[in-house]
Amino acid sequence: MRRIFQIDGEETECWLSHDGNELIVNTPDGAIPCQLDPTGTPGGHVLRVRGRAQELRLAVGPDATFVHLNGQTYAIGRVDPAERLAGNDGGAADDRIVAPMPGVVVSVNAKPGDQVKEGQPLLVIESMKLETSLIAPRDGVVAEIPFAAGDSFGLKATLAQLAPEED
């Protein structure tokens, strides 16, 4: 099987092989022979890559792997390419307004069927104690605003959807 790892916003597909001695992490950019051994401390490992040993702490979460290395912490997103293909993509990215952070809807200023202009406020949300207006990304017709004032929503929830643009 393969994985897509997300590091610093960049996605890389990767698969493992074995040369009889050690594991090899393969990416479209090349092969990395490496070895990972636990040290005994919680999450502690020694990672050997191209002969260089590096101590790190590591924990595997449901959709990301967390690594503490040289005083810095990294989250590496983990996606199964098969699941991504099976998932519903939900329309073009510029049709959707996605929650930039978890929060609460303060007011809804448009309703399905409304013709809106680029930049027009569609709803006001409150996150992290601050109000933010979410504006229409382009001219179009509102297809759906699934939340009402007072509703809370999670990160990346779709807060408003425009009808697909006609060519």
Binding site: I7, D8, I24, I32, H45, M128, E131
Partner: protein, 489 residues
């Protein structure tokens, strides 16, 4: 009045911190817990954990009748409010007074006065202490916009009843003044149930310097020196230190004496903090007084050697202050870092997740006031602050070095935190030289969140080799095929 059993009406790191001192003083202790809340360190320290109910966890911690009822039911003769929640709620204090339960803090009158920024400011100004140019809506609502204009740009709009940066807006151009006033009013109404506003001149490149005070309510007030809190994101502090690198010895005495004078003017009882805006030229103006223990109080404890919660409990029990002004030193340098579950590269968006691995730093001059446990969950039910890392050293340079080492060794895996960002701030040359203002983090945003050395190879290898499914797949196939694993048609 004797205090034998203390209820801590708070949660997280501050509840744990207060409980430790209360237990050390021999008090019986109790703390609250909402049904949906994760177990935290406080629940393990307290003798008794009382479940509270509410539509949301925050609502439960704000439920005055319920908390007063809990105090009565469990026989607590005093309540410590921590910070936030009901700590500056005069109605809560009045309800406790009525129920004959001691509130560890000032009187409801003082909370009322200082909680209303407009009245507090007028009170302070009338007594000859410095305040910045301003316009108060209540003075004449009909002319508020014009009077705001007259204050001059840039200006800062604040809710009269506000705090913690909520509802505050900086206005730099006249064209946006009226819409910003409306937004601030809505935020004020929602957060504080009070849409009244005031504006004041926004001081460019200001520093935020505050002074810890403590009074016995009998006319005695001492200060515990200043704290520099200029490192803020979204008007909220994330690094605090003492002493302030900005002050000369004379300025330090001036600002600390001014704070003590303000506290004396209200015959202050308990722990409080007088906050000032400090202009680069050296002038300082009263900002507000917080009538409670502050998040950043540990840096003061590190340099003075006093336990401020113990002082609060002494005062509440009528034992008075344990020290006179001359007995309160300022030794060495202390820095506090607020460890928050947030993504500094995404505009400090709060992060959630499971704490898969927790290993907190320890050692000489390192203190961790933590509100989390390994295996816990971080949700958005509460503030994103997970814990506080406090260091103490002989001087500022050593304190910075110690803070860097400690924050680099603070291992929290499973939820994104700001430890790397805090480290980047500590490394910044302007932080090292002490030349900062409250705008520092915004001005240096790109530098502070710049990606470090590219180690994506290492990360990829670590992620792939710890991925059980990837590894078991490749280990299950015969060796000859394994060798060919990289092949594709």
């Amino acid at each position: 009045m004797n205090i034998s059993k203390l209820l801590v009406a708070n949660r997280g790191e501050i509840a744990a911190r207060v409980l430790r001192t209360a237990k050390a003083r021999g008090l019986a202790t109790a703390v609250l817990r909402h049904a949906s809340e994760q177990e935290g360190p406080a629940h393990r320290i307290a003798d008794e954990v009382v479940t509270i109910e509410g539509p949301t966890p925050v609502a439960a911690y704000l439920d005055i009748p319920q908390i007063v009822e809990v105090a009565k039911r469990i026989g607590a003769d005093a309540v410590h409010p921590g910070y936030g929640f009901l700590s500056e709620n005069a109605n809560f204090v009045a309800a406790l007074e009525k129920a004959d339960v001691t509130f560890v803090g000032p009187t409801s009158e003082v909370i009322d006065l200082m909680g209303d920024k407009v009245r507090a400011r007028a009170f302070v100004e009338e007594r000859g202490f410095p305040v910045a140019p301003s316009a108060i809506e209540d003075d004449d609502p009909a002319t508020f916009v014009e009077r705001s204009r007259a204050v001059g740009y840039p200006l800062l709009i604040k809710p009269s009843a506000g705090g913690g940066g909520k509802g505050m807006r900086v206005v730099r151009a006249d064209s946006t003044l009226e819409t910003e006033i409306e937004t601030a009013r809505r935020e004020g109404e929602r957060y504080f149930g009070d849409g009244r506003l005031f504006v004041e001149r926004y001081i460019e490149r200001p520093r935020h310097i505050e002074v810890q005070v403590m009074g016995d309510g009998q006319g005695n007030v001492v200060h515990f020196w200043e704290r520099e809190c200029s490192i803020q994101r979204r008007f909220q502090k994330i690094i605090e230190e003492t002493p302030s690198p900005a002050l000369s010895p004379q300025q330090r005495l001036d600002i600390c004496e001014t704070a003590a004078g303000i506290a004396r003017a209200v015959n202050y009882r308990g722990a409080g903090t007088v906050e000032f805006i400090y202009a680069q030229a050296g002038a300082f103006y009263f900002l507000e007084m917080n009538t409670r223990l502050q998040v950043e109080h540990p840096v003061t404890e590190m340099v003075t050697g006093f336990d401020l919660v113990a002082e609060q409990l002494r005062v509440a029990a009528g034992e008075g202050l344990s020290a006179a002004q001359a007995d309160i030193p300022q030794n060495g340098h202390s820095i506090e870092l607020r460890i928050c579950a947030e993504d500094a590269t995404e505009d400090f968006r709060p992060a959630i997740g499971d704490i898969l691995l927790l290993d907190e730093p320890e050692g000489e001059g390192v203190r961790v006031d933590s509100g989390i446990l390994g295996g816990g969950k971080v949700t958005t039910d509460f503030d994103p602050m997970l814990s506080k890392l406090i260091v103490h050293a002989e001087d500022r340079a050593q304190a910075i070095a110690r803070a860097r080492q400690a924050v680099q060794n603070y291992v929290i895996l499973g939820v994104t935190t700001n430890t790397g960002y805090l480290d980047a701030i500590l490394t910044h040359p302007d932080f090292a030289s002490g030349d900062v203002s409250t705008g520092f983090l915004a001005e240096q945003a790109d530098t502070l969140t710049a990606p470090g050395e590219d180690i994506s190879d290492l990360l990829m290898a670590a992620a792939a080799l710890s991925d059980e499914r990837l590894v078991s797949d490749v280990m299950q196939i015969p060796e000859m095929h394994r060798k060919m694993g990289g092949w594709r048609n």
